[in-house]
């Protein structure tokens, strides 16, 4: 009998509102944790929120009342419209899509071919070839700038969207091959062997067995690569010169020169520029994160 009373909390340990003390303590700790996490999350959202607040206010009001006056007299979408039309972002959007979509498709196709050979048809030196891809993905890309600039000039694709497609496909082959290789090695060998016994060709197995099985990895990679390539800045400013061929990030960097003090417009343009990747992230969150996780990343 005595043992049982020790095991239960003694009635004297009951504290406020009749909640046992240890439960109360745990709740307070939980609550504190939520306060810390919530304030951190809010702090993290401030830059984006302040950019949004700046974007929906007029330049006139920001100059008259100060950029952070609250409550605002009027809200406007005019900055977004200006960025889209006079700021040239409609063109930049089209250009970026024209670069990113073919680049992502091409890099996935090519790297799935290489990954398939490396994962399923090992030969002497296949580890070395795999290393070539892995080491390349970590090279500081500064080391490529001058020769790539020269190369695109020499083959006459400098200042065209082709130059961006070429370097994006080339550079990302390393990462995509790496991720897809790791994924393909988890596919049971029996599946491809069975197809081979039935007399299927290497091409058929890749196209009809491997690629469909790789769909989750391909979807994850596509989301991630779309985001990365949409956000590319270095190659856009290195390989593109004319506004008519500019990408979104290229256009953003140009805005400041043209509209030195109009931060309302710049904020609106920044948010426009971020919109596709934000949408992709919100809709395809699973794929996006899956892509980051897929091949132990870079």
């Amino acid at each position: 009998m005595a043992k049982i009373t020790i095991a239960h909390p003694a009635p004297t340990e009951q504290s406020l509102l009749g909640i046992p003390r240890d439960v109360l303590l745990r709740r307070i700790r939980r609550g504190l944790l939520h306060v810390i996490l919530a304030s951190l999350a809010i702090v993290w959202l401030i830059p984006l929120a302040s950019a949004f607040y700046t974007a929906v206010r007029t330049f006139g009001e920001a100059t008259a009342n100060g950029p952070w006056s609250f409550p605002p007299h009027s809200l406007t979408l005019q900055n977004f419209i200006d960025a889209w039309t006079t700021g040239g972002f409609s063109q930049y959007f089209v250009n970026t899509f024209l670069v990113v979509i073919p680049a992502v498709i091409l890099m996935l196709l090519l790297s799935s071919m290489a990954a398939y050979v490396l994962a399923r048809h090992r030969f002497k030196g296949s580890r070395l070839v795999f290393m070539i891809f892995v080491v390349g993905l970590l090279l500081p890309f500064q080391i490529l700038i001058v020769p790539v600039y020269w190369l695109s000039n020499t083959i006459n694709i400098y200042d065209t969207l082709w130059s961006l497609i070429a370097i994006h496909v080339g550079f990302e082959l390393g990462f995509c091959t790496f991720v897809l290789h790791n994924f393909m090695r988890t596919i049971p060998k029996e599946l491809t062997e069975a197809a081979a016994v039935d007399g299927a060709s290497v091409f058929w197995i890749w196209w009809r067995v491997i690629l469909p099985l790789c769909r989750p990895a391909l979807a994850a990679l596509a989301t991630l690569e779309f985001t990365w390539k949409w956000n590319d800045y270095l190659w856009s400013i290195t390989l593109i010169q004319s506004n008519s061929n500019g990408t979104v990030t290229f256009g953003l960097s140009g805005l400041r020169g043209e509209f030195v003090t109009n931060w309302n417009l710049i904020s609106a343009a920044s948010l426009l520029a971020a919109l596709p990747t934000l949408l992709i992230y919100l809709i395809l969150q699973r794929q996006f994160l899956g892509g980051l996780f897929a091949g132990s990343f870079r």
Partner: protein, 320 residues
């Protein structure tokens, strides 16, 4: 039965048993072998042209003087000699090292702590996670512009808040202040990198066997002991990869500096890093040789970490 030799060929062309019926050249010209060669050859060729070729060419250029117009002139190690005497290079290198140390300490601990806390069943955890890794989907120019505006001496939100709490006399010039410019850029960089580290660790935590931690809990370990002696050691492979990514990111740092200080690299080059210095030398000043030498230094520093990464990756690869 008739399909068996064919299977052996297609699965492993190099170790296929020599069948007496088909002569060697016929097997070499097998359609499957050709497919395999093209499948690996085409991507490899593209990779060689756009990545490995340029990397090697840059190393060669670093021994020349070249203005991208007249033919390059071989000058041996002169670019490197000039580098070690260039105070700007020392400045850029120091800034890269500061960046690296700050990156290894702040975002790595914060990201790991957040991952461990948010991995548990907790209400609103998805909201917290989303808020922290949201910056990852924004482009660096967008982040740079946002924080540039944030830190504007007269109109920026940070100084507006300082004035609001009547600490306006403290309001510094941030990006215009040589002592604070790098800190302002690093704030933006940390804002982004915490989420990156957190996401990577969250993935690592998902892969851990929960029974280990449960066993420790039954043995009476508290949460800190559990983390210190069970979780953290188990996460070691993830930590190696996060560390290498963090280091490589700090060495590659370019976009934020370039955008936030408008290509001028701050007051007195206060925010200059190797990448921006290299870019300005090569693209703006047409000193390709000098720029290449800076890139090679970057490569040499990165190399040690690249090797660490590859060793770790190969080890996990063998376990697969």
């Amino acid at each position: 039965m008739a399909t068996l030799p064919r299977e052996a060929e297609s699965m492993a062309p190099d170790v296929a048993p020599a069948t007496k019926q088909t002569p060697r050249w016929r097997r070499a010209l097998n359609l499957d072998t050709i497919t395999l060669v093209l499948f690996l050859g085409i991507p490899l060729l593209i990779y060689a042209i756009w990545v490995w070729g340029p990397a090697i060419v840059t190393i060669a250029i670093s021994f020349t003087r070249w203005d991208n117009a007249s033919p390059p002139k071989w000058i041996g190690l002169q670019n490197y000699q000039r580098l070690i005497q260039d105070p700007l290079f020392i400045q850029a290198l120091t800034n890269n090292l500061i960046w690296l140390v700050v990156f290894i300490t702040i975002p790595m601990t914060a990201g790991l702590a957040l991952a461990v806390v948010l991995d548990r069943r907790l209400r609103f955890t998805r909201f917290y996670q989303s808020a922290i890794y949201l910056p990852l989907v924004l482009s660096l120019p967008v982040i740079g512009l946002m924080f540039d505006w944030f830190f504007k001496p007269d109109d920026g939100l940070v100084n507006a808040i300082l004035k609001f709490i009547s600490a306006g006399h403290l309001a510094p010039g941030w990006l215009a202040d040589p002592h604070l410019a790098l800190a302002a850029v690093l704030t933006a960089a940390i804002w982004r990198h915490v989420g990156y580290v957190m996401v990577l660790y969250l993935a690592g935590l998902k892969g851990l066997d929960p029974s280990m931690r449960e066993a420790a809990n039954i043995d009476g370990a508290n949460e800190w002991q559990n983390f210190r002696w069970i979780t953290f050691p188990l996460l070691k492979p993830v930590t190696v990869i996060v560390l290498v990514i963090t280091i490589i990111e700090s060495l590659r740092a370019f976009d934020l500096v370039y955008v936030m200080t408008n290509g001028l690299e701050g007051p007195n080059h206060a925010t200059e890093v190797l990448a921006t210095m290299m870019y300005n030398a090569a693209i703006h000043d047409y000193q390709e040789g000098y720029g290449a030498a800076i890139a090679v230094v970057l490569l040499l520093i990165s190399l040690a970490f690249i090797v660490t990464y590859v060793v770790q990756v190969m080890r996990t690869d063998e376990e697969l």
